[in-house]
Symmetry: C2
Subunit: 145 residues, 2 copies
């Protein structure tokens, strides 16, 4: 297993792809997204549907419809996606799975984990959804395979 769940991996890749295509009000169909990020079509459908409900991406049905991200959305941090999918536990919970773990009642890895989680949080909060648009369009960065 990877660091994030498959669901979260697909979500991150898909959102970044949609972002990179959303510059001039363009919309992309789910078939294109699934193809470009190499994910199962209908499974991705559910994921995008949820992200859409959360307001992280936008969509319209019908001809010329598809998914897109509005300018404000491009400025949101990646953390929003991760939290929407993995929940807050992933970024804030105890590394050893203890629910009462705290500074007063610490697990053996409490301090070490706090530092690593802090770094992960920092990274996910300072990085925005639209941050990679240019390099994705240029083809310098990859989202496929």
């Amino acid at each position: 297993m990877g660091f994030f769940s498959k669901t979260c991996e697909y979500a991150l890749r898909a959102v970044m792809y949609i972002a990179s295509q959303s510059s001039d009000g363009k919309k992309v169909g789910i078939k294109e997204v699934a193809d470009k990020i190499n994910s199962p079509l209908h499974f991705l459908g559910k994921i995008l549907q949820n992200l859409s409900k959360e307001g992280l991406i936008q969509s319209t049905k019908g001809p010329q419809g598809g998914f897109y991200i509005n300018p404000d959305g491009l400025k949101r941090p990646l953390a929003d996606i991760v939290i929407a999918i993995e929940g807050t536990q992933f970024l804030n919970g105890c590394g050893m799975g203890l629910s009462y773990c705290s500074q007063e009642n610490p697990c053996p890895l409490h301090d070490d984990f706090k530092e690593i989680r802090d770094r992960l949080n920092l990274m996910l909060h300072k990085t925005t959804i639209g941050q990679f648009n240019d390099k994705l369009i240029q083809g310098v960065l990859t989202l496929n395979k």
Copy 2:
């Protein structure tokens, strides 16, 4: 979901508990371990069985039997447990799930993730299984709930 799988969380807690009880050749039964780390008994049984096969812990059957960790084992890094359970992918794979992700063909998060993974690896490799024995015995650190 947490950072590690339940299996890995139980494993880390159990191994640390067994370690803390292994100072003077003492052995602990699985019932005691499951109770002390608050995990499902038989599920933990499978986990310890696997760790035993990997040589990360030792066990003997029969009266006065149980699980223990030999002096060399106490010096091994936590990374050995995590790798035994989560696989190398967890500590080395691409954060976005791409199998061809590399410095030459990077995903958008390649560099950021590398730094976080490096820190996690460093921590898990410098921390040993037996490192918390004293504080666990003193009750300064917790493994339960």
